[in-house]
Structures are given as C-alpha cells and as structure tokens.
Symmetry: C2
C-alpha cells in the first residue's frame, strides 16, 4: 500500500513555514506520519506540495529519508483550489488502495495502530466521536449514517464525530474528483461526501492538527502525556515523579536524545552516592531527583519516536548500578555493626531481585509481567517507591532502619511477584 500526504496548504498562520516541517516533540510532523505509516508496512509515499514549499519539502525528504523509502513530490500549481484538487493531482501515480493523510496532522502511534486494525479493506474515513485535543468550533464535523459518511462540513449542527484527516481510499476516488473538477474550488469534504466511505471510529487516542504557533506547544504536551499513559507506573511515580519528569521532557525534548538523557540520569545517580558519603540527606534528595530524571529518557524516546531495545536494556542495568552504589555509600557512611549486616545484604540482594524476577519472566515468556498479571501492582516496592522511601527515611535520620525497611520490602515484593508469576506460568494456555 502507498500513502498520499497533502502538503499544499498555504499555512498563512504559521508565518510561511511549511506546516509538515513544523517540529512537534523534537520531530517534524511529516517525519512522524511517515515513520508511523512505515511501521504499518507502507513503503511508498506521494506528497502534494505547492510552488512555495516544494524546495523545503524536497530538501527535508532527501535529508531525512534519502533512499530508505520511495517518495515523490507532486506539484499543485493552484493550491487555492483546495485539498480535493490536490488529491486529484496524484491520480496518475496510484493504483489500488492507499492511505490519505494531511501534512499538518499529528497522530500518536496508538491512533495509527487502531485505524489500521479497524480498517476492513474498503474505502473508509477515520473519525473521532470524542476528540480530546481538538477545538470543536474549528473542527470539520461529520455525520455517519448506516456506517457510512453522509455529510462533512465545519458548521454541521447534526453531527456524530470529527474528521481526523486520515483516510483509507482506493483509485475509485479519482472518478469522483474528475466529475467534480468543473466546480473550480474543490474541498476534500466535497469529495468525501460524494464517496460516502465507511466510518472507522477511533476515540480517546491522541491526535490533532497544527494550525497556529500555540498548537505546537499543545501538540508536544499531547505527545508527552500520551508517552506516559498506561506505563503501569507506581503510586509515587504517578503522583510525584511523572508530573515533574514531563516538565523536564517538555523543556529538553528538542535538545536531548534518549541516550544522552540516560547517561545524564546515571551520572546524577552516581553523584548522589558520592554526596551521600559526605552528607546523606543531600545525597538522598539527589537520589530522588535521579529517580525523577530516570523517566525522562523513556519519555523522550517515545515522544521522538526513538524507542530502542538497546536503550531499555542499558537503562535498566544502569539503574541497578546506581541503586547498588547508593546503598554502598550509605553503608560506608554508617559504618554499621555486625548486627545490621544481614539487613544490608538483604537490601542489596532484594533491590536487584525485584527487577530480576520480572526481567527473567520477560526473558522466559517474552511478556511484560505487569501487563499480564495486574496483581503485581497491589504490592508496593518498585523502584520509584523504594527510592522515595529511602529519601524520607534518610531525611528523618533513620539510616540503619532504612536498610531493614528496604531489605524487608524488596524481599517481600520479590516473593509476592514470584508467587503470582508462578501461578500465571503454571496455568495451561
């Protein structure tokens, strides 16, 4: 399947910058759409451009993709004739089914995934009954009757949903554009009303179009929030760490790669251990700050569409090293008697084991245990909670008790997780 992306709009409100090249969450909108469509197996892209932005789009495509994908620019010499006319211009480049989307629309991966999963093969328009990030006054509204689009307009009073700018079409649509050509100005909504494609309802997913400079900020926030949704965060992470890490991600997503963020967070973790040798309360505060930062690399990776298995693997090993180095520094500072030794050893062991039990599960079954066994969340003891507890106890001056608490907590948590995973793994598929 191919994809057509319409980029011939005049972008008056963006100060002349082609809208597809606007960067949202560290990536051009056009890069996002092409990246997500490639994940769905699309290899050929046709972009409709105009005489003012053609150069910029060509340069971008060459730099960003080069020969990696097949792409082609089609010139619309009369952009004032609108989107439907732009679509008509690609007719000689396409046969069979294709995806149509707009260069100024930002979609999340989950939106695109769901659209493709719900698509049954015939011409369809993806619509959203409850758009989260769209101003209903500005949006193009649609009416869906008998499973098909019957009306499309901005000012529709009787409507069901909003047009998302994402369509599955085939070359049959060019008969319609040809028949409407004499009208001069040809908005896409006219074409869709004639075509009456099936309705694909995708609601609750993140998507929006970028029309003004303010929308860039809004779209970046939308992507950051989406990147932290459903990650199975613990209580501390949800209520304390994430709100702060999101702000940091928002401020840095243009400048930091995920790997740089990981290394920065690791460095601050190690620094917190060194400071703990001298002044444990300051060290513990910095350790908690490291715990917040620890979310940033993953957020940046997801928002910038740079997730990698190497990144996740490296990150989780560096986390184990930071946790060990903090406990080591704390014990060094404390110079404990022999009575505390078993608790110190238990804290070191249990801290790795919480993660080991889960990771070994993932290795054996190639599944995320927290996704398949919700009971695991009932028992606290994940990293965000442990570090927060350590910070509180160290601030309260209870360093020996910290080892007892962490030893107990992590060994209980590992045992709890192990028992539930055992139960899950032994039940027949």
């Amino acid at each position: 399947m191919k994809a057509v992306i319409l980029a011939s709009g005049l972008a008056r409100r963006m100060g002349g910058l082609p809208k597809g090249l606007v960067r949202v969450g560290g990536r051009e909108i056009l890069y996002r759409s092409i990246h997500l469509l490639r994940e769905q197996g699309i290899r050929e892209f046709v972009l409709v451009v105009n005489r003012w932005n053609e150069r910029a789009y060509r340069q971008f495509m060459e730099e960003a993709f080069g020969d990696e994908i097949e792409w082609k620019l089609v010139m619309n010499d009369a952009p004032e004739r609108e989107n439907g006319y732009s679509l008509h211009l690609v007719r000689s480049h396409l046969e069979g089914p294709f995806v149509l989307t707009m260069a100024d629309h930002v979609y999340s991966r989950k939106f695109v995934d769901r659209a493709f999963r719900l698509h049954r093969g015939s011409p369809s328009a993806v619509i959203d009954e409850h758009p989260l990030h769209i101003d209903l006054e500005e949006a193009t509204r649609v009416k869906c009757s008998g499973g098909r689009i019957s009306k499309v307009a901005k000012n529709l009073d009787d409507y069901d949903a909003v047009d998302t700018g994402f369509f599955f079409l085939d070359d049959g649509v060019f008969d319609i554009t040809a028949s409407l050509l004499s009208e001069g100005v040809l908005p896409l909504s006219r074409v869709i009303e004639e075509l009456k494609p099936e309705c694909i309802r995708v609601s609750g997913e993140a998507w929006m179009d970028v029309d003004t400079k303010g929308d860039i900020r809004k779209a970046t926030w939308m992507l950051i929030r989406d990147a932290t949704k459903g990650k199975g965060d613990g209580w501390i992470s949800r209520s304390i760490n994430r709100p702060i890490s999101r702000l940091i991600t928002f401020a840095t997503v243009e400048h930091l790669t995920p790997n740089t963020a990981s290394i920065l967070s690791f460095a601050i973790g190690i620094l917190s251990s060194i400071i703990t040798l001298l002044h444990p309360p300051s060290g513990a505060l910095l350790y908690q700050f490291h715990s917040i930062l620890d979310g940033v690399d993953g957020e940046i990776a997801r928002v910038r569409l740079m997730e990698s298995r190497v990144g996740g693997w490296m990150d989780s090993i560096l986390d184990r090293v930071v946790d060990f180095s903090f406990l080591l520094a704390l014990a060094f500072h404390l110079k404990p008697g022999v009575g505390l030794l078993p608790w110190i050893m238990a804290a070191v062991f249990g801290t790795v084991m919480v993660s080991y039990v889960s990771e070994r599960f993932r290795g054996a079954f190639c599944r995320d245990p927290y996704q398949v066994i919700p009971y695991l969340r009932w028992m606290p003891g994940r990293r965000d909670e442990r570090i927060f507890l350590i910070m509180l106890m160290v601030l309260a001056g209870m360093i020996p008790q910290t080892f007892v608490a962490i030893g107990l907590l992590t060994i209980l948590k590992s045992t709890w997780n192990f028992a539930w995973m055992m139960k899950w793994a032994r039940k027949p598929d």
Copy 2:
C-alpha cells in the same frame, strides 16, 4: 502430514515386551517419536501392530495421548512377511505425503529437526554417513548414487551410509508394495530399492535402534550425552560437574521429574547455607554438590522431553536465592569488621548481576547472549566457576578473601559481559 510407525516386529530379543513401549531415558520409544513428530506439526499417526502387541499399544496410546492427537492401529496378521508388507497394509489410510519410521528407533530432537529441515518435498530416505551409536555390522547399509538410494542391504560391501529408519514418502510407494506383494516376504529394503528415494544426509546426530536389553542402557546414555552437548558450559562444569551430574541423571531419570530435581537441588543448596553457619568447609562442599545437582533438572527435562519455560525460569530464580543464602551464611559465620563490608556487598550484588545482565539481554532481544556472542565465554565467573572457587577458598580457610575474590570476579564478569553485549546490540542488523 501424517506419520506411519511400524511396530509389528516380533521383538524376540526383548523378552516379548513390545519394542516401542520400552522406556529409554524415562520415556517409551514410541512416546518420543510421536512427541518429536508433533513438534514438526504432524497431528495424525498410523501404527502398524501385530496380534500379540496390539492390546499393549492400544492401552498405551489411550493413556499417553487420548484425544490429543488422531491415531489409529492397523493390524498386521502376518508379521513374518516383514516391514514392507506392514507398510503396504496402511495404503487405505493415507493420501499424499507421510513420514515413515520404526517403533524401535530412538531419535534426538536435533536429528528430527535436521531431517525435516533438509527434506525438499519429494520421497526421501534419511541416511547417516557416520553413525555414532550404531554397530556397523548390524546396520542396514545403503548406497547413494546420483543423490538417490540405489542399494539397501545389511551386508553391502560398497556402501556410503547407514539407513536410519526415517523416511519421507508419499502414497506412490503403495504401487511398489502392491507390485512386490506376490513375493511373499517383503522387507522394507526391497521397497526402498525399487522406490529409489532421494538421500537426506544427517550425520553426527544422536539416533539408534533398540534391539537388546543392553541397547536400552546405551540409548539412555546417548540421550543424556546429547542433552548436555552445546549448552555453553564453563570449564568447571564441563570437566567436573557434568560428568557427575550425568551419572546422577542416568540413575534417576526414570524416577525424578525435572521439577522434583529442581526442588531437591534447591533444598540441598539451602541446607549447605545452614551447615555453613556451623562449619563452613562442610557447607562449601555441599554447596559444590548442589552446583553439580543443579545440572540434573535440566538434563532430566531434556532427556524426558519435558523442557518448560516455567521450569527454567523458576530454576534460575532459586539459584539466585541459594547463592545469596550461602553468602549470607558465610558472612554471618565470619562476623566481619566494617572494612570487609563493601566487598561483601559487592559479592552479593555482582553474583546476581552476572545473571541479571544476561537475562535482561535475553528479555530485550529474545536471544541467548552466550550463543550470539562467543567472547562472553572468554571471561570466567559463571555460576559453576564461582561456586567451585568459593569451595576451594573456604576449604583453604580464606573466608574474608572469598568475599573479595567473588566481589571482584563477579563485577568484572558483569562489566565484561555488559560491554560485549553493548557492542553487539549497537551494531546495525
């Protein structure tokens, strides 16, 4: 595809026990063949039996498989007319391609895998140019000319390989059996000589036929050796642990399930910690014995065809618990000064991390790091080597030095593995 298993031989040398029901490595030979063929996607089985063993085979099939697979017994009322005649009798039950094998032949999984991988679709005979476990005087020899079997006989002087009793045929073979039927006695070798199937060469894999009581022992050993081959064992494991664990497996494979063996090995590991509290040298010896036993569950699982992901997952978590409990007991016994504390913590942490780094790699990339990165083996520090080192040092009375050695060794080993894995993971696919 279906499979035909010939079980109508008279088994004179086995004291009347049907040969397919002889247990080798804790499983009936017939169970093994059916299990391995099912793994290749075969769901229907036709067994040719005789009037003396029919009852025993029917009972076994009902108990072992019930409705799980489709199966059928075909009676050979004249087993003295030999194997080719037995094959002829199944003609009305088969259409298209099928696998033919013998109820008294034991094959390893790798043998069956390779045979299926090399099979190109046309009628073929699997032959072995260098059989490891077969007496060449007793074997049926074959001559392969121009890629096809030209001669099959026991006493062939000019031969290339040995017949493994494993064939890929199709219903065309029944024209040949029908045309040879008038000869009375019809050995399978006659049929194969007429058919001239393609030769599939599988050499170096474990397989043999079981003809005498002595062969049972020999076949069990063959399977145990095969179960420990290519496991990427370390030096201590290869030269000390495996030779002993194989003997234990040989003695217990009929009586122990893999899970029982795991739990037994875990119990002995914990016992070694308890004894270490009182008398470290005895505890360390028992710990090394636990390390030997630790191989038995996996060996039994592979020999009995009972490998499971749960088993491997549970086993590796229990190993971490035993290692921690031994270090804890040793530290408890030692009552060390504060100077040793960092080394004790490092030993506890590093001991888990060696495994963590590998398992997290497996979780991220779904690959065995020791298979894809041979350099990992160059650095010692795996579990068998660590435990052996601990035993030696504790026997030498060097308990404080043990923590230093294990702390250093495991942290170096984790770092070495991490660095090589990083290198592997970052190279483009």
